[in-house]
């Protein structure tokens, strides 16, 4: 009886997950074993087995996209995580007026659609005449292979930090005030309180932010599509863009699905390693 009740209560959720998560993933894997231009029905796909995966292993474009994505993710996480923790503490601890407004302003960058704001950043980054180029003595930003990916990271950090900061503030509210009081009585200053009270008790939040920022960074697409189209010289060709280009521009949906499925496997593996490392430390 209890078992049937559990099945009855779980089935709507399982149906939704099955329909919108499991079926698309299975279909992506199935397509990755075929050759398909997307102009024909699914039933007309030509079987390739693991040929698309073998091609990826030998494809310079795929390894470039993988490398660019890894660098992008690393830069995003390294900058975003400490920055959002610092900003969160700055907006939580001091008793100052206007903190709410500052939070709202920070969060607003997350609310604005990426497409709209990417166009504005394209203008800011314009070489020679763009405000940021003028301000930084003719920096090349999106116009040179050496700076284009970093420029996209700056845009990502600007857009997402506000969201992560709000999460940090939410985490800080969960730390009991009497722990700080006890630490102060024991003679701990600001830095010792941060190192021994704030950061350890904020760990669940920072782990969550770390994981979400990795996933968000791996999925970056809009600014690459709008601002750089993977250039210059493939320096911003990240995986999601390479998948889109392969499927929709080149008509190689099988190869694109192989890339997408590889990305999924990498994402699961990376998430697993990240969580395992965190669990071992705790």
């Amino acid at each position: 009886m209890r078992r049937s009740a559990a099945v009855a209560f779980l089935s709507p959720a399982m149906l939704v997950i099955g329909l919108f998560t499991v079926v698309p993933i299975a279909l992506t894997f199935w397509i990755s074993l075929h050759e398909w231009s997307m102009y024909t029905p699914l039933g007309d796909m030509a079987w390739r087995g693991f040929g698309n995966y073998a091609d990826l292993a030998a494809d310079d474009g795929f390894s470039t996209a993988l490398g660019n994505t890894a660098l992008y993710v690393a830069l995003v996480v390294v900058v975003t995580l400490p920055l959002s923790v610092a900003l969160g503490m700055l907006l939580y601890f001091p008793k100052a007026a206007g903190k709410g407004v500052a939070r709202a302003v920070l969060f607003s960058t997350y609310v604005v659609p990426t497409v709209a704001i990417a166009i504005v950043w394209g203008g800011l980054y314009a070489p020679s005449y763009g405000p940021l180029s003028v301000l930084f003595g003719g920096a090349t930003w999106l116009s040179a292979p050496g700076t284009a990916l970093v420029s996209l990271v700056i845009f990502h950090v600007w857009q997402m930090t506000g969201y992560y900061t709000v999460l940090v503030i939410a985490g800080l509210t969960q730390i009991p005030g009497d722990l700080y009081e006890a630490a102060r009585i024991d003679g701990a200053g600001f830095w010792r309180q941060t190192a021994h009270v704030t950061l350890p008790l904020l760990r669940r939040t920072t782990v969550f932010i770390g994981l979400v920022s990795i996933i968000n960074a791996i999925q970056v697409f809009d600014p690459v599509y709008i601002l750089t189209q993977g250039g210059p010289a493939e320096s911003t060709a990240v995986l999601s863009f390479a998948i889109q280009r392969s499927a929709f521009q080149h008509g190689l949906a099988g190869q694109a699905s192989a890339m997408a499925f590889t990305l999924l496997v990498l994402l699961v593996a990376l998430g697993g390693v990240f969580l395992a490392a965190v669990r071992r430390r705790s």
Partner: protein, 432 residues
């Protein structure tokens, strides 16, 4: 009770049957077709007007115009094209045609339309839209490349006339460079923008991109054009950081020319309207000349490409027939002004060269404009961009190596050699 139920059921069936029967008249069922285009609002309005006029002449057929940005056109075709309810007509880039024909999405033209096409369009364009032995659509827009230059900057640099050879191009570029201005601009982060101008220099040096399905990138005449780029960059006459384009095919490369920071650039005729909009009165500073000829070339031979309208081969027969009828009207001499087709009127309003012979004649006055007239004169010398399955991927491979040269990551020789090796695999994947 039973009798009452039977009577009630019979009455209900009669009511439903009457409702479905449309009042019992013999009016034929309406045929609804759709036209997918990447044109802007003004041109869509003109296309809608032509569709309305067609609908009046052809009661029972309705034409729905759907517009998407250029960047989304191919995506829309890939996601909706295979469906019988996808766009019935689509305006496509000729590079996409081989793949559409291979997968049965570009229907063969009916015999009467094919005869009209053969009679009213230049032979080379008819050949361009003929695949697997049958014409697949009406060519409309033709684009080709020419050297665009800033007359004011030329005057300030003491250059009397636009360069006719590569040597003159290098000399003029050096003279124009300085104070934040580059002599000769290139385009990056956009496959056609990067490849077509460079290929126009290659073809004006007697070279080619491919011969049939064999790449010709290691041909000395092709390598020479890449070496020209490398020399211009080494001398500072071309500044790579001023070259990038965005998804809308605008961006810094365009802004730099518009703002007088680029002395010369090789670009297609379609950007005339973009220059006019962005430059205002300064548009009068824009000069146009044929693409400079290389040391191994005999004449300027710019790259050209075209757009055409095709009918969805997956649509039902009634829709296909209605679509061809509409296209015949749209491209016929009675739908536009002064003997032009409505299509000719729409294209000319964008500064684009129409391809139908009668349209070129009807729009002679507009096409004699100093900007467009050079492109019109160069049309007979134009070399069509090779239209093969995998053409888009091939173009992107060349773009990648060309940009590697522009940004100093590869030498011209190494870049062309690598592209030569990669392209056969790219074409093979697409079934060429």
């Amino acid at each position: 009770m039973k009798t009452t139920q039977v009577l009630a059921l019979g009455a209900a069936v009669m009511v439903v049957a009457a409702g479905c029967g449309g009042g019992g008249t013999d009016r034929p069922a309406a045929t609804k077709i759709s036209f997918l285009t990447h044109w802007g609002p003004d041109q869509v309005k003109a296309l809608e007007a032509a569709a309305t006029a067609f609908e009046k002449q052809n009661p029972g057929t309705t034409v729905d115009i759907r517009a998407v940005p250029f960047g989304n056109l191919l995506t829309t075709l890939r996601t909706q094209g295979a469906s019988p309810n996808g766009p019935t007509i689509a305006g496509i880039y000729d590079l996409w045609l081989p793949e559409l024909v291979r997968d049965g999405l570009a229907a063969s033209m009916p015999a009467d339309a094919a005869a009209e096409l053969a009679a009213s369009w230049p032979k080379n364009l008819v050949e361009g839209v003929t695949k697997q032995g049958a014409p697949r659509g009406y060519p409309n827009e033709v684009d080709l490349y020419a050297l665009n230059y800033n007359k004011k900057l030329f005057q300030q640099a003491g250059i009397a006339q636009p360069p006719r050879t590569w040597a003159e191009l290098e000399d003029a570029a050096a003279k124009l460079t300085g104070n934040g201005t580059q002599g000769f601009g290139v385009i990056t982060s956009w496959p056609a923008g990067a490849v077509h101008p460079w290929l126009s220099l290659v073809t004006s040096n007697g070279g080619a991109l491919i011969d049939g399905t064999t790449p010709k990138l290691d041909d000395p005449r092709t390598v020479a054009a890449t070496q020209l780029y490398a020399r211009l960059i080494a001398k500072g006459s071309t500044k790579p950081e001023m070259s990038n384009a965005n998804a809308n095919t605008t961006g810094p490369y365009l802004d730099n020319f518009v703002n007088g920071r680029t002395g010369m650039i090789i670009m297609a005729n379609w950007w005339q309207s973009a220059l006019k909009d962005a430059m205002g009165d300064r548009y009068q500073d824009v000069g146009v000349a044929p693409v400079p000829v290389g040391p191994d070339g005999t004449k300027s031979a710019p790259v050209s490409y075209s757009w055409l309208t095709v009918v969805n081969g997956k649509a039902d027969q009634a829709r296909q027939q209605a679509a061809w009828k509409f296209l015949t009207y749209l491209n016929g001499g009675s739908s536009g002004r002064n003997g032009s087709s409505a299509m000719g009127d729409i294209l000319t309003s964008m500064g684009i060269l129409p391809s139908r012979t009668g349209d070129l004649e009807a729009h002679k006055a507009e096409l004699s404009d100093p900007f467009l007239s050079v492109y019109v004169r160069e049309l007979p010398n134009a070399v069509p961009f090779p239209s093969v399955p995998g053409g888009e991927a091939m173009s992107q491979t060349v773009q990648k190596h060309l940009e590697n040269v522009i940004f100093g990551k590869e030498t011209p020789e190494a870049a062309m050699s690598a592209a030569q090796k990669e392209i056969p695999g790219v074409l093979q994947k697409a079934g060429t």
